[in-house]
């Protein structure tokens, strides 16, 4: 009776039927609450989170594990991508409708407000109200920047006041009998020029400049610091009109151009290399809060100092509030759990830890005032600026990356010294206006 033979064909048929049955069984959704052990033994909700690799990525992983300890019902699954391809990856995830529940994005590229405008981001107003979450803990500028069309689309994670720092080589200043620039920012463009002239030197007597006085940033956000100190802007409040060729902004551009090509105290792009400051070949350099990380490269060659960038003709220091948001995807199936994670990212401890890790602090005054950060003198220079920071302005049609490319390529002839600002800036401004006139991205 056990002599029944199964042919190869029959074996394959039976095997196929068996596999099909298993596959069908696997497709049957689990019955909610089917576990006889109750809620305590239910699988935790998995919240996917997208962020950048590197310092921030390590920070997210560390904070995720801490969050899970506090919230055993929620698991954070980090999916981190390199900065260079981060936003392409976001678009692919959106196109494939496989976006994670929560993610990091940026303000300056215009993507944050574009996502808000296109319905990619979940408006948080209802959850904030239901949770009685206190938004008063944040810098007010954060909430303005995080809002779009009257709704709040993220909780601010980290923030800074822009490219407002004039970092300097304390050793070079001391060697040239220059006092350190005032920590309260009470100095002027003219003062900075005098400093730069003294610091610019031909140290080996070969007729070539070996040490420059000042390195200004050439990107639009660096220029904005000079422009706002002079009463100018790159575009109007609604982000619809280019103001690059306004007299105030043009005067700021002329000043930076003169530093490079009239006074020869700043390296032109052709003379500039990335390591000039840390190798002691530049006295002062414009940068943001993150410039403090130069300490690691400088080592014991010299001591790093920082002061606010100087005041322009208006008597104010230029700045622009910038923040990095933690957002919830509108298609998330677990918005409540996602909101818990976003709140965690916006809490005080996270805000302090990310600054300690080498990035910038959380968007809350209690973070910036915490003794763990105020022990660093350069941090305090930026804290003072934060309390007077000027608001964020972005292009009204969210085409920040197009604006940046148009500006950078358009202004190259100026920074290279091929053209005078007055000849080029009106043309660049017209090109910016063409971008601003396009429909929303």
């Amino acid at each position: 009776m056990f002599d029944t033979r199964v042919s190869r064909r029959q074996f394959m048929q039976l095997g196929g039927m068996g596999l099909g049955a298993v596959a069908l069984a696997a497709c049957v959704p689990a019955t909610p609450g089917a576990s006889p052990l109750g809620a305590a033994d239910e699988e935790p909700v998995v919240i996917r989170f997208h962020g950048r690799t590197g310092v921030q990525g390590d920070h997210f992983i560390e904070r995720a594990r801490a969050f899970e300890e506090e919230n055993p019902g929620i698991t954070i699954k980090e999916e981190l991508f390199p900065h260079a391809e981060y936003h392409q990856k976001m678009e692919v995830l959106l196109a494939g409708q496989t976006m994670g529940d929560t993610f990091w994005t940026v303000l300056l590229s215009g993507l944050y407000h574009r996502y808000a405008n296109q319905g990619v981001l979940l408006a948080l107003d209802d959850m904030v109200a239901a949770d009685e979450y206190d938004l008063g803990v944040f810098f007010p500028e954060s909430l303005d920047a995080a809002s779009h069309a009257g709704s709040l689309y993220s909780l601010p994670w980290i923030c800074h006041p822009g490219r407002v720092g004039c970092f300097y080589n304390k050793q070079l200043l001391a060697d040239n009998d220059l006092e350190e620039p005032p920590e309260d920012g009470d100095w002027t463009f003219e003062n900075l020029l005098e400093y730069a002239k003294v610091l610019t030197q031909d140290t080996d007597g070969d007729g070539q400049i070996d040490q420059f006085g000042m390195q200004p940033g050439r990107d639009p956000f660096s220029l904005l610091v000079w422009a706002r100190a002079s009463g100018g802007e790159i575009y109007d409040e609604e982000g619809k009109t280019s103001l690059l060729d306004s007299e105030e902004t043009l005067s700021a551009i002329r000043f930076v151009y003169d530093l490079m090509h009239v006074h020869n105290v700043a390296p032109s792009p052709e003379q500039q290399t990335s390591d000039m400051f840390v190798s002691g070949r530049i006295g002062m350099v414009q940068s943001g809060y993150w410039g403090q990380s130069w300490k690691n490269q400088i080592g014991d060659r010299f001591e790093l100092g920082a002061a606010p960038m100087p005041k322009g003709s208006t008597g104010i220091n230029g700045s622009m509030y910038e923040f990095d948001p933690a957002c919830i995807y509108s298609g998330s199936e677990h918005p409540e759990e996602a909101f818990e994670w976003v709140k965690w990212l916006a809490n005080k401890e996270t805000g302090i830890r990310i600054a300690e890790a080498g990035s910038v602090p959380g968007s809350r005054p209690d973070v910036w005032e915490d003794p763990r950060l105020t022990q660093f003198p350069i941090h305090n220079v930026f804290t003072n600026i934060m309390y007077n920071v000027l608001p964020f302005r972005g292009p009204g049609n969210f085409r920040g990356l197009e604006i940046r490319d148009t500006y950078s390529n358009g202004m190259d002839p100026v920074w290279l010294g091929n053209e005078e600002p007055d000849n080029v800036v009106p043309t660049v401004s017209a090109k910016l206006q063409e971008v601003l006139d396009k429909p929303p991205a």
Binding site: V120, P269, E270, T273, L401, S408, N409
Partner: protein
């Protein structure tokens, strides 16, 4: 049992089989072998190819659904986009200068290495090495060579009393810099190896005949070598032009299209529109325009080749 077989002969014969000829069986086996590739081709090449054609007639920003826009993207490219014609002109300049230099350089190297001298194998390997360098590494390496202050190129120029330019940061010199960078890989790379193979296929008796007739080296090259390797030359020319027109990586890594759009090539423009600004519909139109340009250009070259390419076995 015997009686049963007589009544139902199919029992003895077993299950009925479809009669398939050997030729057809072989064909089915062959198709099964290529099936994985075929599925990959359909999913990752044919479908995106057709999808991009459809998308080129839409306004599509990835997040939103495609909206039909007719020929608007094509009209925008041809008449509304300042960077379209500029990037096309720059790309053709790069190809027109770079391809002949690459062909002449790689043919010269191949001629030298075809001399059957001592150490030829070593030199062949050395010349070929640069072409094995990944383009991103190549771009980063040349950024240092071109560095105005302490780059090796300006150092060497300074030794002969020349004050070198800013190279990649100079509006005038950025494009020539990228051409030099590309030549470093093409002169000793695949083109040279293909030329070498072509040269080694030239019958020796033709050279002997020229020698008997008293022809010199130039005469041998002009009237024997060049006609005999003309199919190889044609092949390298076609691939060289297509490769040059597709220039992207070196500009993306070294200059990001700058300064002042000096190295903003067509494919960089397309990439920027697609993956930076997310104007996928417009980028698809740019891709199709480029496809048409490439096809037309290649067709013209094939037509022109009838007048100068010599195929030894061609009796027509």
């Amino acid at each position: 049992m015997t009686a049963l077989k007589e009544v139902r002969p199919e029992i003895q014969a077993g299950p009925r089989r479809l009669k398939v000829s050997l030729k057809r069986q072989e064909a089915i086996t062959g198709y099964l072998y290529i099936l994985p590739w075929l599925l990959g081709f359909l999913a990752f090449t044919a479908f995106p190819f057709l999808a991009s054609f459809y998308l080129s007639f839409t306004d599509y920003t990835v997040v939103s659904q495609p909206r039909f826009a007719g020929f608007a993207n094509y009209a925008e490219a041809l008449s509304g986009d300042d960077l379209f014609w500029g990037s096309l002109r720059r790309t053709f300049t790069y190809a027109i200068v770079g391809v002949p230099l690459g062909i002449v350089g790689s043919l010269s190297c191949a001629l030298l290495l075809n001399q059957q001298l001592r150490g030829t194998t070593l030199f062949r390997a050395l010349y070929f090495l640069p072409s094995l360098t990944p383009l991103v590494a190549l771009a980063l390496l040349w950024q240092w060579i071109f560095q105005p202050d302490f780059g090796v190129l300006n150092f060497l120029l300074a030794m002969v009393g020349i004050d070198g330019p800013g190279w990649l940061s100079s509006i005038e010199w950025a494009l020539p810099s990228l051409i030099i960078m590309a030549l470093w890989t093409t002169v000793g790379g695949g083109q040279m190896v293909i030329f070498l193979a072509g040269l080694q296929g030239v019958p020796q008796e033709l050279y002997e005949a020229v020698e008997i007739d008293g022809g010199g080296a130039w005469y041998r090259f002009r009237h024997v070598t060049l006609p005999m390797i003309s199919p190889t030359l044609f092949f390298n020319l076609i691939l060289g032009i297509i490769g040059a027109l597709r220039v992207f990586t070196v500009a993306y890594v070294s200059t990001e299209g700058g300064p002042a759009y000096a190295t903003w090539f067509y494919i960089l423009h397309l990439y920027t529109q697609a993956f930076k600004y997310f104007n996928m519909g417009y980028a698809s139109a740019l891709a199709w325009i480029f496809f048409i340009i490439l096809i037309s250009f290649t067709y013209l070259q094939v037509r022109a080749s009838r007048h100068w390419v010599f195929y030894a076995g061609d009796t027509g």
